[in-house]
C-alpha cells in the first residue's frame, strides 16, 4: 500500500463541484452594494413571530426600508446559539403553532414584495427531517437564495452540498474567532454567496460594543480567499454598521430587530431598519 499524499481538510472534505464559481444572487447584491460604496445591510427575523402574518409584514417592512439581504430564522426547540431575546421570540412562535413549511410563505412574500434577497437561517435538524433535498427544492421555488447553517459545519455537509448544487442555492457557513487557519480555509471554500463571520465568542444578543475580534476574523477569512464577508452577533446600531462596514462587506443585525418587532410591531422594524441603513 502506498502512502496517500497528505491532504488538507478542504481537499479531503469538499466535492470538486463546490469549488467551482457559480452565479449567486447574494454575491451579486453584495457586489452592487460595494459599487455603491456601502456595506450590505443584512437583517434577521424569525418566521412566525409573533404570528405568521405579523412576521411576514415585519419581513416586508425590513426589505422595503433598506435591508439588502433578509435572513428568516426557523424557530427550533433547542437553539443553542441564541441569546434570551431570540430564544423568547422563537419559543413564542412555536407556542403559537409555527410549522416549518410556513417559512416558505415568508420567503415568498419577501421575494415578491421587496427587492431584498431572502435566505433561510436554520439549525440543521428541522431541515434534515424535512429532507435536505426537498427543503432545498421548496426554498428555491419560493425564491430563497440560500441557507445559513449555524450548527452545520462543512465536515458534516455532504447532503447539503448535493442539494445546494442541485437547486442553485448558496451555502453560508459560519467562521468564528476560534477557527483555526485550516478550518477557516475549509469553511471559506465550502461557502458561497457570502461567509458569515461571528464577531464574538458567544450567542446572539445586542451588545454595546462590537468585539474587536470581528476585524481580525474578517481579515483571516479574507486571507483564506473569501470575497464577501458579513459580520454578525452583537450589532445593534447605525454606529456599529458604520464601524464594521469599514472593513466587512455586509453587516448582520438580528436581536435589535427582533426586540423592535416585539415592542412596536412591523412598523418599528421598518423604522429601525431605515435608521440602520442610514436613511434617517
Amino acid at each position: 500500500m502506498t502512502m496517500a499524499e497528505p491532504k488538507d481538510l478542504a481537499a479531503r472534505l469538499l466535492p470538486p463541484e463546490v469549488l467551482e464559481p457559480r452565479q449567486s444572487r447574494l454575491a451579486q447584491r453584495i457586489e452592487q452594494c460595494r459599487a455603491e460604496g456601502r456595506p450590505a445591510l443584512v437583517g434577521y427575523l424569525p418566521a412566525g413571530y409573533p404570528t405568521l402574518p405579523e412576521s411576514i409584514e415585519a419581513a416586508v417592512a425590513l426589505g422595503n426600508n433598506g435591508a439588502d439581504i433578509i435572513e428568516i430564522g426557523i424557530p427550533y426547540s433547542d437553539p443553542v446559539m441564541d441569546g434570551a431575546v431570540i430564544q423568547h421570540a422563537t419559543t413564542t412562535a412555536l407556542a403559537n403553532g409555527f410549522r416549518v413549511a410556513q417559512v416558505f410563505e415568508v420567503i415568498e412574500a419577501i421575494s415578491t414584495r421587496t427587492n431584498a434577497v431572502p435566505v433561510v437561517m436554520s439549525y440543521w435538524n428541522p431541515i434534515m427531517q424535512r429532507g435536505v433535498d426537498r427543503f432545498a427544492r421548496e426554498l428555491a421555488a419560493a425564491g430563497g437564495a440560500g441557507i445559513i447553517t449555524p450548527d452545520l459545519i462543512p465536515d458534516e455537509a455532504d447532503e447539503w452540498f448535493k442539494a445546494s448544487l442541485a437547486h442553485g442555492l448558496d451555502r453560508i457557513f459560519l467562521v468564528a474567532p476560534s477557527s483555526t487557519r485550516e478550518r477557516m480555509d475549509l469553511t471559506v471554500k465550502a461557502s458561497s454567496g457570502f461567509v458569515y463571520a461571528v464577531s464574538i465568542m458567544g450567542v446572539t444578543g445586542a451588545r454595546d460594543a462590537v468585539s474587536n475580534a470581528a476585524s481580525s476574523v474578517v481579515e483571516r477569512a479574507r486571507a483564506a480567499g473569501a470575497r464577501n464577508i458579513c459580520v454578525g452577533l452583537g450589532v445593534s446600531t447605525r454606529q456599529h454598521v458604520e464601524e464594521i462596514g469599514a472593513y466587512a462587506d455586509g453587516v448582520i443585525v438580528g436581536t435589535a430587530l427582533v426586540r423592535a418587532l416585539g415592542e412596536g410591531g412591523p412598523a418599528a422594524v421598518g423604522a429601525l431598519t431605515a435608521q440602520l441603513a442610514g436613511r434617517k
Binding site: 500500500m1 427550533y76 426547540s77 433547542d78 437553539p79 443553542v80 446559539m81 441569546g83 430564544q87 419559543t91 412555536l94 410549522r99 416549518v100 440543521w124 435538524n125 428541522p126 431541515i127 434534515m128 427531517q129 424535512r130 449555524p150 450548527d151 452545520l152 459545519i153 465536515d155 458534516e156 457557513f173 459560519l174 467562521v175 468564528a176 474567532p177 476560534s178 477557527s179 483555526t180 478550518r183 469553511t187 461571528v198 464574538i200 465568542m201 458567544g202 450567542v203
Partner: protein, 707 residues
C-alpha cells in the same frame, strides 16, 4: 454425457452418498406407487406460491449473516440427536430467533425425517423452507413444491452436469430455487456453469465424514461472487460462524448446534450477531480503512451512520483541543497512573459484584449486581468526572461547567472541582432542581453554583443547551464536563473510555466467580453512559446478550415517556446524529420519566449504532415496572437503588420471565444476568415515598421541604 432423464442419473461417488442414495431410491419407488407423478404435479400447482429464498438469504444489509436453521432428528455421522418431539414448535422458535430459512430433513432411513415434518414446519412458519433431501429424481422436486417448499437441495457430487442443469431448470420453473451443494473447486466450477444462485460449501468430507472448518476459507476465492454463499456442516458454535462469515459466507446452515444448546432462539440471534461483526470487519479490511472489527475499539467520531460533530464552528477548536488532549493522555503513563490512583483511593474502585440471592429467587434467574452505587458520590458518574477534570487541568482550564438531570453528575462534577480546586457551575432544569432538591444542596455544599434553567421543558436537554451557551462564551477558561456518552465527538468515545472499567471489572469478576461469562447484561439508558461502560466489557463476547432499558414513563403507548431508541427517529441534537424523540418538523419532543436521570429525548450515538446492528437490544420500562423493581430490591437485598438503576432491575425481571417461559424454571435459574446498579437511591427517597403513598398527599412534607 448422460442425457437428463426424469429419473435423473446418479454418479457413483465412492462415498457414503452412494449407499444413502440407494435407500432414497427404494423409498422413492414406494412413494411413486402410492402417488403417481401426475397427482403430485396437481398438488404442486395447487400449493401456495413459493417465497423468495435468495432475498431471504441475502438479508437486509450488506453485513447481514443469515441462518438456515435445520430441523434434523439424527444423522449418519452422529446418530440420534436431541429428540425433536415437535418440529413445528422448533421451527417457530428458529423463526422468532431471526432465522432466514428453515431446512427440513426429509430423508427417512439415516436422518429419520419425513414429508410430514416438512408439512408441519410449512404450516408453522412464514419464512422460506428448504426441503433437504438427496434429490435424484424430478419426482422429488415436484413433491417438494407440493409440500410447500421454496428451496431444494442439489448435491453436485451426486449428479452429472446435464441432470444438475435439468433439475435446476425444473426447480426454477416451479418458482423455487436450489441450494447447490459443493465440496471441491471442481464442483464449484460445475455449479457456476449451471448458473447456481445459491452455492453451498459442505465442509464435511464425504469419504471420512470428518468436518474440515477451514475448507470454506480455502475454497472461498473460487466461489462465484454474485451467488449467495452458504457454509454447511460444522457450524457448531459462534467461532465457526465467525470463521465462515469472515471468508464471505452470506449464510450458514446449522441444526445440531441449535438443538443441542437448548436455547435455539438465543443461538440463532448470537450467530447472526457474530456473523454480522465478522462480515463488517471483512468489508472494512477490504476497503483498507484499517478499522479494527472489534466493536469495543470503535474510536468515533462515527458509529455507523451515527455520531459526528453537528456543532457551531465556534466550538470546533475546543472540541479538537479536548480530543487531542484525551488522545495524548490515554498514551501517557503518568496520566493513567493518576486516573487509576484517584479511581482506587478516592472513588473506591473496583466496585463490588454482589450476588442478589433473594432477588434472584423472586425473578427466576440469577442476578449479579455491579455496585456502582458504592462509588464515592453514589453513582458511576464519578469515573467520567475524575477523568475529564484531570484533562481540564492538562488543558489549563480552571472552570468546570456541567449539566445535570438527577443531580448525580452535578454532584460528581462539584466533587471533582472541590478536590482539584476548580470553579464549578452546574446547569440543571428548573423542574429537576425541584425533584432533586437534596442534590442541589449537596452541590452547593461542595462549593458549586447551581443555575436553575427555566427555558424549554426545564429538564436535562435545556440544561445542556444552557451549558453550551455558557461554553461558547467561556471556552478559553472553561471545560464543559459533559456527563453522558452523547454529544459531539470526542465526548461519546471519551466518556465511554472513562466508564469502560465498569464492564472490564464486571467481566473479570463474573469469570472468576462463575468460571464463565454471564448470559446477559442489563443497564438503564438515558444518555447511556453507565450502559456503554458496562456493555464495553462484553461487546466482543457474542454469547452475552446486551440489554438497554429506556424510560417508558407512563407507557410507550402514551405521549409521556423517554423511550428514544424504541420510538425515536434519527436526527441531530446536541452535536450528534442519533435517535431522537421529535415531531414531524424535527422539533424535540419533551420526554417524561419518574427518573430525572433518564429524562432525556436523545441517546448516545454508539447505542443508536449498537441497536441498528442488533448487537444490543433496547426496550422500554414503565415508571410502574421500575418502581416495582425498586421496592423488590429494597425488600429482598437491603439495597435502595436509584430509580434510574431500577429500570435495569426491571429489565432483569423481564429477562427472568422470558427465560422461565422459554426454558422452564430449572434452566432459567441457571441463567445469569449482570445488572448495572448505576446509583444509590438516597436522592430518590422523596419521590419513592410519594409513589408508594408513605407520606400523606395533603401534607406532602417531604415534597414541601424539597422546595
Amino acid at each position: 454425457m448422460t442425457q437428463p432423464s426424469a429419473a435423473g442419473s446418479d454418479r457413483a461417488t465412492g462415498t457414503v452418498l452412494d449407499e444413502i442414495i440407494a435407500g432414497v431410491r427404494e423409498d422413492l419407488e414406494a412413494r411413486k406407487t402410492l402417488l403417481p407423478l401426475e397427482e403430485v404435479k396437481a398438488a404442486a400447482k395447487a400449493a401456495e406460491p413459493p417465497r423468495d429464498a435468495v432475498a431471504a438469504l441475502r438479508g437486509p444489509h450488506a453485513d447481514s449473516l443469515e441462518v438456515i436453521a435445520e430441523v434434523k432428528r439424527s444423522s449418519p455421522s452422529k446418530g440420534a440427536l436431541a429428540p425433536i418431539t415437535d418440529p413445528a414448535l422448533l421451527a417457530s422458535a428458529y423463526e422468532r430467533g431471526g432465522a432466514a430459512v428453515i431446512s427440513v430433513l426429509t430423508e427417512a432411513r439415516r436422518f429419520n425425517g419425513s414429508l410430514a415434518d416438512l408439512d408441519a414446519v410449512r404450516t408453522a412458519v412464514d419464512i422460506p423452507v428448504l426441503r433437504k433431501d438427496f434429490t435424484v429424481d424430478e419426482y422429488q422436486i415436484w413433491e417438494a413444491r407440493a409440500h410447500g417448499a421454496d428451496l431444494v437441495l442439489l448435491i453436485v457430487a451426486a449428479l452429472d452436469d446435464a441432470t444438475l442443469a435439468g433439475f435446476l431448470d425444473l426447480t426454477r420453473s416451479l418458482g423455487m430455487e436450489a441450494l447447490v451443494e459443493t465440496h471441491t473447486t471442481e464442483e464449484i466450477e460445475r455449479a457456476r456453469r449451471v448458473g447456481a444462485r445459491i452455492v453451498g460449501v459442505n465442509t464435511r468430507n464425504l469419504k471420512t465424514l470428518e468436518v474440515d472448518p477451514d475448507l470454506f476459507g480455502r475454497l472461498a476465492e473460487h466461489l462465484p461472487e454474485d451467488a449467495v454463499l452458504v457454509a454447511e456442516s460444522g457450524v457448531t458454535d459462534a467461532e465457526h460462524v465467525e470463521l465462515y462469515a469472515g471468508h464471505g459466507a452470506d449464510a450458514v446452515l446449522t441444526g445440531e448446534a441449535l438443538v443441542r444448546a437448548g436455547d435455539p432462539l438465543g443461538t440463532v440471534a448470537t450467530f447472526r450477531t457474530v456473523g454480522a461483526s465478522a462480515r463488517a470487519a471483512r468489508r472494512a479490511a477490504s476497503q483498507g480503512d484499517g478499522v479494527s472489527g472489534r466493536l469495543s475499539e470503535a474510536p468515533g467520531p462515527y458509529y455507523g451512520d451515527f455520531g459526528g460533530r453537528w456543532m457551531p464552528e465556534s466550538l470546533i477548536a475546543a472540541l479538537d483541543q479536548v480530543e487531542e488532549t484525551f488522545e495524548k493522555a490515554k498514551a501517557d503513563e503518568d496520566f493513567l497512573e493518576e486516573f487509576r490512583r484517584l479511581s482506587r483511593d478516592y472513588a473506591n474502585r473496583p466496585s463490588l459484584l454482589t450476588e442478589a440471592e433473594r432477588f434472584s429467587r423472586e425473578i427466576g434467574c440469577r442476578v449479579l449486581l455491579k455496585r456502582e452505587d458504592l462509588n464515592h458520590t453514589g453513582s458511576h458518574k464519578i469515573n467520567n468526572v475524575l477523568g475529564q477534570a484531570l484533562l481540564a487541568k492538562r488543558m489549563g482550564k480552571n472552570r468546570l461547567i456541567a449539566e445535570t438531570g438527577a443531580g448525580q453528575h452535578g454532584v460528581a462534577t462539584a466533587t471533582a472541582a472541590a478536590l482539584m480546586g476548580m470553579e464549578c457551575v452546574v446547569y440543571m432544569g428548573a423542574e429537576d432542581t425541584e425533584r432533586q432538591a437534596l442534590n442541589v444542596a449537596r452541590m452547593q455544599l461542595l462549593g458549586a453554583s447551581v443555575v436553575a434553567v427555566e427555558n424549554g421543558s426545564r429538564t436535562l436537554k435545556d440544561a445542556i443547551n444552557e451549558a453550551l451557551r455558557d461554553w461558547v462564551a467561556s471556552v478559553d477558561t472553561t471545560h464543559y464536563l459533559l456527563g453522558t456518552a452523547a454529544g459531539p465527538h470526542p465526548f461519546p468515545a471519551m466518556v465511554r473510555w472513562f466508564h469502560q472499567q465498569i464492564g472490564d471489572e464486571a467481566r473479570a469478576q463474573t469469570l472468576s466467580r462463575l468460571g464463565r461469562l454471564p448470559d446477559a447484561v442489563s443497564a438503564c439508558v438515558g444518555g447511556g453512559s453507565n450502559a456503554i461502560g458496562i456493555f464495553h466489557g462484553f461487546l466482543d463476547d457474542p454469547d452475552v446478550e446486551l440489554w438497554g432499558f429506556e424510560a417508558g414513563g407512563d407507557g410507550i403507548d402514551t405521549p409521556r415517556h423517554a423511550a428514544t431508541i424504541s420510538l425515536g427517529r434519527p436526527g441531530v441534537l446536541h452535536g450528534a446524529k442519533t435517535f431522537l424523540m421529535q415531531d414531524e418538523d424535527g422539533q424535540t419532543i419533551e420526554s417524561h420519566s419518574i427518573s430525572a436521570g433518564l429524562d432525556y429525548p436523545a441517546v448516545g450515538p454508539e447505542h443508536a449504532y449498537l441497536s441498528a446492528i442488533g448487537r444490543a437490544r433496547y426496550e422500554a420500562v414503565t415508571d410502574t415496572e421500575a418502581m416495582d423493581a425498586f421496592r423488590l430490591l429494597c425488600r429482598t437485598e437491603g439495597i435502595i437503588p436509584a430509580i434510574e438503576s431500577s429500570h435495569a432491575l426491571a429489565g432483569a425481571v423481564k429477562l427472568g420471565q422470558r427465560w422461565v417461559g422459554e426454558l422452564g424454571p430449572d434452566a432459567a435459574a441457571d441463567k445469569v444476568v449482570v445488572v448495572s446498579l448505576s446509583g444509590r437511591g438516597d436522592k430518590d427517597v422523596a419521590t419513592a415515598a410519594k409513589w408508594f403513598g408513605l407520606v400523606p398527599e395533603e401534607h406532602d412534607e417531604i415534597d414541601e421541604e424539597s422546595r
